[in-house]
């Protein structure tokens, strides 16, 4: 015999449409309109899970989002999600559900032996043991503890669902579609406001769905129909308002068939009509399957047409559970009420009597009897009778769902009259309505909702006020009239009386926490893990806080409550992440030559946001092989490299020269038109911000380049200086990074290559000397030729508008083909600059000063520049600072590695050393490995033999300190 039976009539299920689903491999049937929970109950599944610590059998506690016990892994393979409350899963055909935390099954779980050791596992037991016998003993015990912890299992596969984020804007966001929310949405909608109504259930209606009778259903249907007809109202179902963030931004997560849609709603006003959640009562064995909340039982009965097989007991300390009792009696169930109060209201007594319901006043529950499921209850007090029953429904009062109000930092306030916390206030633009305010009763909810809508409309500046919302024609609008008994929170209960069901926190644990001094509500939570389970303490927090308050001799108001934090209910990481994951994690930045490179044997490498050309397969199959060939090409002939990723900035205006002169450490005021200059800029703190080459195009216009990595930083920095501080300077800066692309034409044959490519242009060393710049008109666009060299060879950069870069690149390759020109990539580019001793990203790491990089001489003596003052601080001028050196490997059979630590030959190899290696390359010129590094005292040690240690691989090698300019120290090649 099962505890529940499905009724032949009533409820909101569709008996004509049967659905098939699988539970722990078993094929079961349910109806359209069922949740997984109601379908399992209809199939006689009372034990659906095991508790966290003691592995006690558990059944459904609730019918809603507060469910603590009935958690399942839903779906299979890459759609499987653990820890989903069955009460929130609408049944669909083919649904696959698995139970959790039990082996082999919830009904027969071998881990239940844990219960035997329960006295050991009291609150905070793990803090008191496992310290010995050795220092790191926890490492021995931890694996056992870890294995026992956790509920479901995560699946390692990539998520098969699709999640997206949608930004929404509205005048009024209404959270919750119970009577208060419906009334609020209707009133705001009628006034023409843009309204979003978010309902977490699959069906709108909130508490109305769990009531019986046509009157309410007619009102619900009519209200919904009108809302749906309003173009300015959007109704979202299976959509939970999870959190309110600064600026009244609300995250509403919505379940769709193929994934989740996260609505990020910027609401001018928010109406919270979130209702209330019922509290369990705390008594011995209150976790036995068959014990549930009274509201849940009403919901199973009225919404899902499930009635206890024959007998039910209702335990309550307030009036609200009587509705459940009456509905059960009307459905033919034998009902007994165990009333904690001495004298329930007279009208309830009369109605109960008329329905043949027995009431025991002053009679809490002493204990429940049965095995895995409930068989009977024993009442406490003078009655001390045992009553057989299929289901025990309990109501310990109601907690207004105040969660969202406190996300902005407003703490809830305790209301003695209803023995519960209510909103402590509302942030600007937020309003509450109905049960969440502690206003219980249907008509109160409708009134509240309409009133909140009017306040919201006023706040939005909408002056049109809507027609009044007609409330449902109900006679009896009983406010739940909670009259709390003397000891509502049952501080002294014998046996295992659960407060937090999922985390197995009992009344005794709370007593222990009190005895040990963990008094603050936060200490209580953290010490006992109360409220930390997947139900986030929705049913347990207030009971526990009130019990602790009682133990401390305080009122709950004095003891205070904990802070509610988002999300309101557990929300998948994937839903919050949306589509910005995997290859869309961050946008990929591509050079104008990307497509050409992709088609022409280029291997790419990620460099920050960029995909850069790493090496080309003409030179080799591996980067190690290819970069050496590519270097040789540049050193001996001519190569072509994509340098489009460099930051480029247009600096214009009458004060442009003065501006650059302030920003760079070296002088730019007198740079002639048609000339480029290498410049370095510092931050205010005197450390190097960036370097680059800047050319003067006209008296009032400069073409600045920056490093690839710092382009964005430098741009913002220049704008900051001009817009916030040097507002008197007439200078305008614009980013040209995307507008201009460029290529380096490098190598002894580079001039010949240019002559072949641009036969009409004069590129002789007289016409275009080193650091000369000229614009030519070519192929229908402007081509800028800059005689610069990163490699140390005779070299040029050729820039043009990005649209034409590929065509220009192909043209140069074709024109200079007789010279054997080929493309070279980033690896070779970076290696060539090491040979020349140019600093780059690995040296410009925001820790180094100008002097550290060997560039101190560049700084102007007289002229002020940014960072000048702080650059001259004591330690930054210290002779023992680490500064740039070149390094040559002295042991050719060994390997040299970036990140090696440098020591003097006589040093003991330990500690921080005297420096480190930043960049390493094979030098095609020298036929050996060389490196750049920073070394204590720098080039004062030129010629010394030192040691590089790489203890991660147990390697040490001998190096010689040399000038960082490994090639062409005199610059003859540059000026050729």
């Amino acid at each position: 015999m099962t505890a529940f039976k499905r009724l032949d009539t009533g409820g909101r299920i569709d008996r004509s449409r049967t659905l098939t689903f699988t539970y722990d491999g078993q094929r079961l049937f349910g109806q359209v309109g069922d949740t997984l929970a109601s379908a399992l109950l209809a199939n006689g599944k009372m034990v659906v899970g095991r508790s966290f610590k003691y592995h006690r059998p558990r059944g459904f506690l609730s019918a809603g989002i507060e469910e603590a016990n009935g958690l399942f892994t839903i779906g299979e393979g890459n759609r499987a999600e653990p820890n989903i409350p069955g009460t929130m899963v609408p049944l669909v055909d083919g649904l696959v559900a698995r139970s959790q935390n039990a082996w082999p099954s919830p009904a027969f779980d071998l881990m239940a032996v844990n219960s035997l050791a329960a006295p050991l596992f009291g609150a905070g037991f793990y803090y008191k043991t496992f310290m010995g016998p050795f220092k790191k003993s926890w490492m021995f015990y931890e694996p056992f503890i870890r294995k026992a912890a956790g509920m479901g299992k995560a699946d390692a596969a990539k998520d098969g669902a699709r999640h997206d984020v949608e930004y929404g804007f509205c005048d009024v966001l209404v959270v919750g579609s119970g009577p208060a929310g419906l009334a609020a949405a209707l009133a705001a909608g009628r006034a023409g406001a843009k309204v979003i109504l978010a309902e977490q259930d699959a069906e709108p209606g909130g508490s109305l769905l769990s009531e019986s009778g046509d009157t309410l259903e007619r009102w619900r249907a009519a209200t919904l129909a009108e809302l749906q007809a309003l173009a300015n109202v959007t109704l979202l179902v299976r959509a939970t308002a999870q959190g309110i963030y600064d600026g009244n931004q609300v995250v509403v997560s919505q379940h769709l068939a193929n994934g989740q849609l996260l609505h990020v709603v910027r609401a001018r006003t928010i109406i919270l009509a979130t209702g209330a959640l019922e509290r369990p009562l705390v008594f011995s064995n209150n976790d036995r399957p068959g014990v549930m909340l009274a509201s849940a039982l009403r919901s199973y009965l009225n919404r899902f047409a499930l009635a206890p097989a024959a007998r039910a007991v209702i335990a309550t300390n307030n009036d609200s559970a009587y509705a459940t009792a009456f509905a059960l009696a009307e459905a033919g169930v034998a009902v007994t009420i165990a009333e904690e109060r001495a004298v329930p209201a007279g009208d309830l007594l009369a109605q109960a009597a008329a329905l043949g319901i027995a009431i025991f006043p002053n009679a809490g529950i002493a204990d429940t009897l049965g095995g895995n499921t409930l068989k009977a209850v024993r009442l406490k007090g003078r009655h001390s009778v045992t009553i057989e029953c299929d289901v025990l429904a309990m109501s310990g009062g109601w907690n207004p769902a105040v969660h969202l109000t406190s996300h902005g930092g407003i703490r809830p306030r305790y209301d003695e009259a209803i023995a519960a916390f209510v909103p402590g206030g509302f942030a600007d633009g937020q309003f509450g309505a109905g049960a969440m305010l502690g206003h219980f009763g249907l008509l109160a909810a409708v009134r509240d909702g309409e009133g909140a809508a009017r306040s919201a409309l006023t706040r939005c500046g909408i002056s049109k006020m809507p027609a009044a919302v007609e409330p449902p024609a109900v006679r009896d609008d009983r406010a739940y009239g909670i009259a709390v008994a003397a000891d509502p929170f049952a501080v002294t209960v014998p046996g295992k009386a659960f407060v937090d069901f999922q985390h197995d926190v009992t009344a005794k644990d709370i007593k222990v926490a009190h005895q040990e001094g963990y008094h603050s509500v936060e200490h209580l939570k953290r010490y006992t893990t109360l409220g930390m389970a997947t139900d986030q303490g929705k049913t347990s927090n207030v009971n526990a806080l009130a019990m602790m308050a009682a133990l401390r001799g305080l009122t709950p108001a004095e003891a205070g409550t904990t802070t509610f934090r988002p999300p309101f209910s557990p929300l998948t990481v994937g839903a919050l992440a949306g589509r910005s994951v995997g290859r869309h994690f961050r946008p990929t930045r591509r050079s104008p030559l990307h497509d050409w490179n992709a088609k022409n044997g280029c291997t790419f490498i990620e460099a920050g946001p960029w995909m850069r050309a790493w090496y080309y397969d003409w030179a080799g199959a591996t980067p190690q092989e290819a970069y050496v060939k590519e270097m040789e090409l540049v050193r001996k002939g001519v190569g072509l490299a994509d340098v489009s990723t460099l930051g480029k900035i247009d600096v214009q205006g009458p004060d442009a020269a003065e501006f650059l002169n302030r920003v760079y450490v070296n002088g730019f005021a007198k740079l002639p038109v048609g000339k480029a200059r290498y410049g370095v800029m510092l931050n205010d703190d005197g450390l190097v911000l960036d370097d680059g080459t800047t050319s003067r195009i006209s008296d009032t216009q400069f073409y600045m380049t920056t490093t690839t990595a710092q382009a964005g930083e430098v741009m913002s920095w220049l704008e900051y200086l001009l817009q916030c501080h040097w507002t008197d300077l007439k200078v305008h800066v614009s980013s040209l990074t995307d507008e201009w692309g460029g290529m380096a034409v490098s190598g002894p044959d580079s001039r010949k290559a240019l002559q072949l490519a641009f036969p009409d242009a004069e590129v002789s060393t007289e016409a275009l000397p080193y650091m000369g710049v000229k614009d030519i008109s070519f192929g229908g666009t402007t081509v800028r030729i800059l005689r610069l060299s990163f490699s140390g060879e005779l070299a040029y950069e050729v820039h043009c508008p990005a649209n034409f870069v590929t065509a220009l690149w192909e043209h140069i390759l074709k024109a200079a083909a007789p010279l054997g020109i080929k493309p070279y990539g980033l690896e070779a580019l970076a290696s060539l600059r090491i040979e020349k001793g140019h600093v780059a990203g690995l040296e410009l790491d925001h820790r180094n000063s100008l002097d550290d990089l060997g560039l101190g001489k560049m700084a102007a003596k007289e002229k002020p520049y940014i960072g000048k003052e702080l650059r001259l601080r004591e330690n930054m001028q210290a002779p023992e600072r680490w500064s740039l050196v070149g390094l040559e490997l002295m042991e050719p059979e060994k390997k040299l590695r970036g990140g090696s630590i440098l020591f003097a030959a006589t040093d003991e190899i330990k500690g921080h050393g005297r420096g480190y290696i930043t960049s390493v390359t094979w030098s095609t010129e020298l036929g050996k490995f060389i490196a750049l590094g920073l070394y204590n005292g720098g080039l004062r040690h030129e010629g010394e033999e030192i040691t590089a240690a790489f203890p991660l691989k147990n390697e040490q090698v001998k190096l010689k300190i040399v000038s960082p300019h490994f090639i062409d120290k005199e610059g003859a090649r540059l000026h050729a």
Partner: protein, 419 residues
């Protein structure tokens, strides 16, 4: 008085359920005067009091906490402990801290669940791997454990990362510190409180300091919500609100208060057996003993005291989580919260004397306060007891910016000073 904790005492209590455990720490009323007052009952303040008593025999000490102990960042962090530092005294300081962590539960007779499960920092480019190698080499040269892993080795250790072509940033390798790990954050505060209390330290909760009394340029006591309390010396350990408390003594500091968010998912069975950090963006994750994934990212990026984070940053961190570890997509976020961090321009802390005599400062912890807790308490106690810095905290002075002695590990500071 609390009794000793052990498996035996636990058994005794199991068999005799009516004998209550005593208070973990005493709850005395404040005296009118102490030798040393520590402002702030967080991890650092409590550890300082403990080591003042234990190492220096100074037991006439009060720790003043405005709320409940551990209500600040010690109870809000992602519980990571490690010693992968490479600059100045950072390296020995954090290694000393890790060594103290190793014996902490034993020392305090309180199980802080110090788990040396190892930390793996995943590199996404060859250049980044070189930088990590530099760090790892420095560690090894200080006798600290570190291993360089290639992509294949990372895959063996962390099979759940994204190694597919879909990964926006590829796994190039990693650096692994096997002795790094996690500790149970609340237990650290409680354990220090209990141990300090047993040595005679007064831990006074719900006692907010509202002023610092000065006479002739010396700190001589504090004004509190529970009255004036005199002191021979006053130590500040209130990370998050350091500027406010220092201002009571007229000090303006190189500190800005920023919010750092943290996240925890529902518990699942063991899946992630290390602390995993990422080089693509600042991101770190571990699985708690209870089963939840605990993780975080960067600060939100502007100064605030609100303890609630910005949505865009939450989304950023979730995107990191799923992109590095695709399984995270179906994990459900249970809670997120924020802690207020003292951000300093170079990302390194202060443990030092101040321009005010008998007033000492411990703050500026940026992201790294939790792992520093034992060494911070140890060296701050030394600095207070001897009125001079310990060799391990000699670089953590207030005047380092005047001298150009920044200690920038790129754990990142408040960086807004650059503009």
């Amino acid at each position: 008085m609390a009794k000793g904790y052990s498996v035996f005492s636990l058994l005794r209590h199991a068999l005799k359920p009516d004998t209550p455990w005593g208070l973990a720490w005493e709850k005395p009323t404040p005296k009118s005067s102490y030798d040393v007052i520590i402002i702030g009952g967080g991890g650092h303040g409590l550890a300082t009091a403990y080591y003042l008593a234990k190492n220096h025999g100074i037991t006439n000490v009060a720790v003043l906490e405005k709320g409940y102990i551990g209500s600040g960042n010690v109870g809000r962090n992602t519980t990571i402990i490690r010693s992968n530092y490479m600059l100045g005294t950072n390296t020995p300081f954090f290694e000393f801290s890790l060594k103290l962590w190793e014996g902490l539960s034993h020392d305090l007779n309180y199980n802080c669940m110090v788990s040396h499960r190892g930390q793996v920092v995943v590199a996404v480019s060859p250049g980044q791997l070189d930088s990590m190698a530099r760090r790892g080499n420095i560690m090894r040269l200080h006798g600290i454990d570190a291993e360089l892993l290639d992509r294949g080795e990372v895959q063996k250790l962390l099979p759940y990362l994204d190694y597919s072509k879909d990964a926006r940033f590829p796994v190039w390798g990693a650096i692994h510190q096997p002795r790094a790990g996690t500790a149970r954050h609340d237990a650290v505060a409680w354990g220090y409180a209990r141990a300090a209390s047993q040595l005679g330290v007064h831990i006074i909760e719900d006692c907010e300091v509202t002023g610092i009394h000065m006479e002739q340029g010396r700190a001589v006591g504090v004004e509190t919500t529970r009255g004036r309390i005199n002191a021979g010396k006053v130590g500040i350990a209130v990370a998050g609100h350091t500027s406010q408390v220092a201002a009571m003594a007229g000090l303006k500091l190189p500190v800005e208060s920023h919010i750092l968010q943290a996240f925890v998912t529902e518990a699942v069975k063991p899946m992630v057996h290390h602390v995993v950090s990422w080089g693509a963006e600042l991101f770190y994750l571990s699985q708690s003993d209870k089963g939840g994934m605990v993780f975080g990212g960067h600060i939100d990026g502007f100064n605030t005291f609100t303890q609630r984070g910005q949505l865009f940053k939450i989304q950023d961190v979730m995107q990191c989580a799923v992109s590095l570890m695709p399984f995270m997509s179906r994990m459900r976020l249970l809670r997120h919260w924020g802690g207020i961090q003292d951000m300093t321009p170079d990302g390194s802390p202060f443990i030092c004397r101040t321009p005010v005599r008998d007033l000492y400062l411990n703050g500026g912890w940026c992201y790294q306060g939790f792992k520093a807790t034992p060494a911070s308490g140890w060296t701050f106690a030394h600095t207070i007891a001897h009125d001079s810095e310990h060799e391990l905290n000699r670089d953590y002075s207030l005047d380092r910016f005047e001298k150009g002695g920044e200690l920038d590990e790129h754990g990142t500071g408040n960086w807004t000073y650059k503009q």
